[in-house]
């Protein structure tokens, strides 16, 4: 997996893998990820595309896709 910064990506959550633990929330510099009680939300408006959240997730539930519309594995944003 290439974690280098691409221009304009969206961070998506694979809901089948996400354990809503908040591991990614802590490392997100602009605080663009929010852990609700049973739901992880990524705000791609405030996301700076640093991609720190991707390797740090214990189950690799987060992934990036080009910002253009694409087919979304695992259920989407």
């Amino acid at each position: 997996m290439n974690h280098s910064k691409q221009s304009h990506v969206l961070i998506l959550v694979n809901r089948d893998r996400c354990g809503i633990c908040g591991c990614c929330v802590a490392v997100c510099p602009p605080n663009a990820i929010t852990l609700h009680d049973a739901y992880l939300a990524v705000n791609n408006e405030t996301c700076t595309e640093c991609l720190k959240c991707i390797p740090v997730c214990p189950t690799h539930a987060l992934y990036d896709v080009p910002a253009e519309p694409v087919a979304v594995p695992g259920g989407g944003i």
């Binding site: 908040g22 591991c23 009680d37």
Partner: protein, 394 residues
């Protein structure tokens, strides 16, 4: 039922740190409200569940309902299977955190604190640079609760800390990515022994653990440092390989995940009207990532200082600073040294781990003082002295 709109002390987060802060605050006569965003206290836990039980005794009586296994020894296993058995540094038990957390919070309630689950803080109340409580949604209702002092015990992802202006976000090199299974249907050779498995292929920048929760059950987990992970694999990928090798037939009764800041305590942990404790303040021990006992010490210290500050009518950063000073003196310096030790170990190749384990295995550890052990190890691996100097004097 209805919460008041003002308390002396607001504690945000119902883990062991927050519960201890609420308990000690209430014992000192403060009006305390503890809020927890989850629907239930003690669930889900993000923990391998080993505790030093003598250290929790001042806060909660030891109770067989939450003790799963008493621990006699720790075994450190190297990359090619060599091992050394070490006595625990303090009496240790593996506990059922779901029960332990709830009972600890109940101790706070018995001491007079008010506790409310399913209450999510949405922002702090800021006035003249002071934190004066928090806005929250409690059981579905938006409310504001004012407090003279607010203690943020809201974990590694602390939002309260961020809203209050603290720099809480860890660097990836100072952060463990962690996952753990509760395995059943396994046979443990020694159900009173905790195991650590180290090696760059097993757990890059971290380790795997096997903590018994009875004769046929164990927490089997992993922490890795993702900046030392070369293959693009997740913590779970490494844990799955470890479990496949050791317990291919095991059942998985549960899975917990999380991240642990291990770069040492944040430089600033108090500000006007607010204090950070536990993982929110990065107070875990950096090598193991263990933070339960430390969070409880911090909760005690913070609540004690908060009570003094409230009694004197001054909750400024300066008045709350004794908590940070005491923390630094009693634990912070040691934690920073362990952080440097962690960075030293991160650079080790597997043969270095093997050599150190082989060396330690040949020593009569139970008859030696820590100083003797250090001298002996340094004689066999003098290059460590160079690193040790960095650890002790940096």
């Amino acid at each position: 039922m209805t919460l008041r709109d003002e308390y002396d002390l607001l504690v945000i987060g119902g883990g062991p740190g927050g519960a201890t802060a609420a308990l000690v605050g209430a014992r000192l006569g403060l009006d305390v409200l503890l809020v927890e965003k989850r629907q239930e206290l003690g669930s889900p836990v993000r923990c391998a569940e080993a505790i030093g039980y003598e250290q929790v005794a001042p806060y909660i009586p030891i109770d067989e309902r939450w003790v799963c296994a008493w621990i006699d020894a720790f075994r450190v296993v190297g990359p090619s299977g060599s091992a050394v058995r070490l006595p625990p540094t303090s009496p240790t038990a593996v506990v059922e955190r779901k029960v332990f957390d709830r009972e600890l919070v109940n101790e706070a309630v018995k001491a007079g604190a008010t506790v409310r689950a399913m209450t999510r803080v949405t922002d702090v109340i800021s006035e003249d640079g002071y934190v004066r409580g928090a806005k929250m949604i409690s059981l579905g209702q938006e409310i504001e609760v004012r407090a003279r002092v607010t203690i943020a015990a809201d974990g590694p992802e602390s939002q309260v800390g961020r809203w209050a202006g603290f720099k809480t976000s860890p660097r990836l090199s100072e952060y463990y990515s962690a996952v753990q299974y509760l395995l059943a249907g396994i046979t443990l050779a020694d159900a009173r022994e905790c195991q650590y498995h180290i090696g760059n292929e097993i757990a890059p920048g971290g380790y795997c653990w096997i903590f018994p929760k009875g004769p046929d059950k164990a927490n089997v987990g992993i922490v890795i440092t993702t900046t030392f992970e070369p293959h693009g694999r997740s913590a779970q990928d490494y844990l799955d390989a470890f479990v496949e090798r050791l317990y291919p037939e095991a059942s998985i009764l549960g899975m917990v995940l999380g991240g642990i800041p291990v770069g040492g305590t944040l430089k600033q942990i108090v500000d006007d009207g607010i204090m950070l404790i536990g993982d929110a303040a990065h107070q875990a021990e950096p090598v193991t990532g263990g933070g339960l006992n430390l969070a409880m010490f911090a909760g005690d210290m913070a609540a004690t200082v908060a009570a003094q500050a409230i009694a004197h009518g001054d909750v400024s950063r300066q008045a709350l600073e004794p908590y940070a000073k005491q923390w630094q003196k009693e634990h912070g310096k040691a934690i920073n040294a362990m952080s440097r030790a962690r960075h030293m170990a991160l650079k080790f190749k597997d043969d270095r781990y093997e050599k150190l384990i082989g060396l330690a295995a040949d020593l009569p550890l139970s008859e030696m003082s820590a100083f003797d052990i250090i001298l002996k190890v340094l004689r066999h691996d003098p290059a460590l002295l160079f690193h040790a100097r960095e650890i002790i004097f940096a």
